[in-house]
């Protein structure tokens, strides 16, 4: 039986479910905390750091923080907003993000956050890393150029036997997400679609899919990401 406790979000008091994830609880309260590596229903990882908020004055990633009684959360300050903008800028410069030719453009969470924060250009050095496009899989394409290493596919996608399909390889700025040849062999079209959908950017694609929603009808064409929580 869920018990509800008082929490403070940006100086307003709300009731929230004790033990709930702070991002989700804030959403229930109509407070938007931006996320990128977070995805409902899978274990949080705190990788992108963009959901960092101040919990009782100390920075914590809201995706890995649980609601406790009387917690005082500040979700937005000029420093936090500047930090979030920096995360977006860093990611844009770290990978190879060519929005005009990306199947995910208009539905991409990274792009949407760049729109939300009005980032026209990255103030960080564009690295133009050399990365692969893997197309050996019968149903999936993995375009590493666009991958932001959020691990949502690793955490969220398993085959019918419950085995992992994706995993990290290497470390540091060489990390790469690998697809297992055995465990991914017989995935259904539905699972392939789930893998594509769980990717916040256009790094996992279903073969033969893409550009099926015209400009003007895509998720973030008209209103910023987060408007669904706090208009």
């Amino acid at each position: 039986m869920a018990s509800f406790v008082r929490i403070t979000l940006d100086d307003r008091v709300y009731l929230a479910e004790e033990g709930a994830q702070l991002v989700a609880a804030a959403k229930e309260c109509g407070v938007y905390i931006p996320t990128l590596c977070n995805y409902p229903g899978i274990p949080p990882k705190g990788a992108c750091r963009i959901c960092t908020v101040l919990v009782n004055g100390i920075p914590h990633t809201a995706c890995t923080t649980k609601v406790v009684e009387d917690m005082n959360v500040v979700t937005t300050t000029p420093e936090l907003e500047a930090f979030r903008t920096s995360i977006v800028e860093i990611l844009l410069a770290e990978g190879n993000h060519f929005c005009p030719i990306c199947e995910r453009s208009g539905n991409c969470e990274l792009q949407a956050l760049a729109y939300r924060y009005r980032v026209p250009v990255s103030s960080f050095p564009y690295l133009f890393p050399t990365r692969d496009v893997e197309a050996w899989h019968p149903k999936l394409i993995k375009d590493h150029n666009r991958c932001i290493q959020c691990k949502r596919c690793i955490r969220g996608i398993h085959n019918a036997k419950g085995q992992a399909i994706f995993a990290f390889g290497k470390r540091g700025d060489k990390v790469v997400i690998n697809i297992d040849r055995e465990t991914s062999r017989d995935i259904s079209d539905e699972l392939a679609q789930q893998a594509m959908d769980i990717c916040p950017v256009g790094a996992i694609l279903r073969k033969g899919k893409g550009f099926d929603t015209p400009i003007g009808r895509r998720t973030y064409d008209h209103a910023p990401i987060g408007s669904e929580v706090a208009p």
Partner: protein
Amino acid sequence: MTAKATPAKKVIATTSLAGCFGCHMSLLDIDERLFDLIELVDFNKSPLDDIKEFTKECDIGLVEGGCSNDENVHVLTEFRKHCRTLVAVGECAIMGGLPALRNLMPLKDCLDEAYRNGPTVADSNPQQILPHDPDLPKLLDRVYPCHEVVSIDYFLPGCPPSADLIWDALVALVSGNELALEYRTFKFD
């Protein structure tokens, strides 16, 4: 210093470096506002009026495209010298854009594919010649965003930036007011 002769009108220069002229097309897409524009500004060096070299100092330079060869670098440097405010217009100027897809492989591989090994050229270039006439611009090792070559004052995103964004930006630049970046016009595609 530049606009003293005609203090009411700002002077604009435009160019397309490693771009597709799509951003220029989008500028023309402001439709009937073109009449308002020519009331507000004069054009100097620009493909729109075919003035090849700067004949005066300009207030605003609009640069489409990134730097893919040494001629692009030369033109961009000229723009920086002659324009008080320099604006990177569109994804290519901002981060290299689609031409920068070649940044993901060595230049040699690109040249070989384009002139020696590609399916459309393999048979027609038996001597395996790569173009190297002294009059041809030299390709850079990669496509550079404009701000990696000269300082850039403003960035207008889009591929191309929407006509409304270009219009809003020009009005802001000419009037000296801050540009309110509307969500509607702020896009990367």
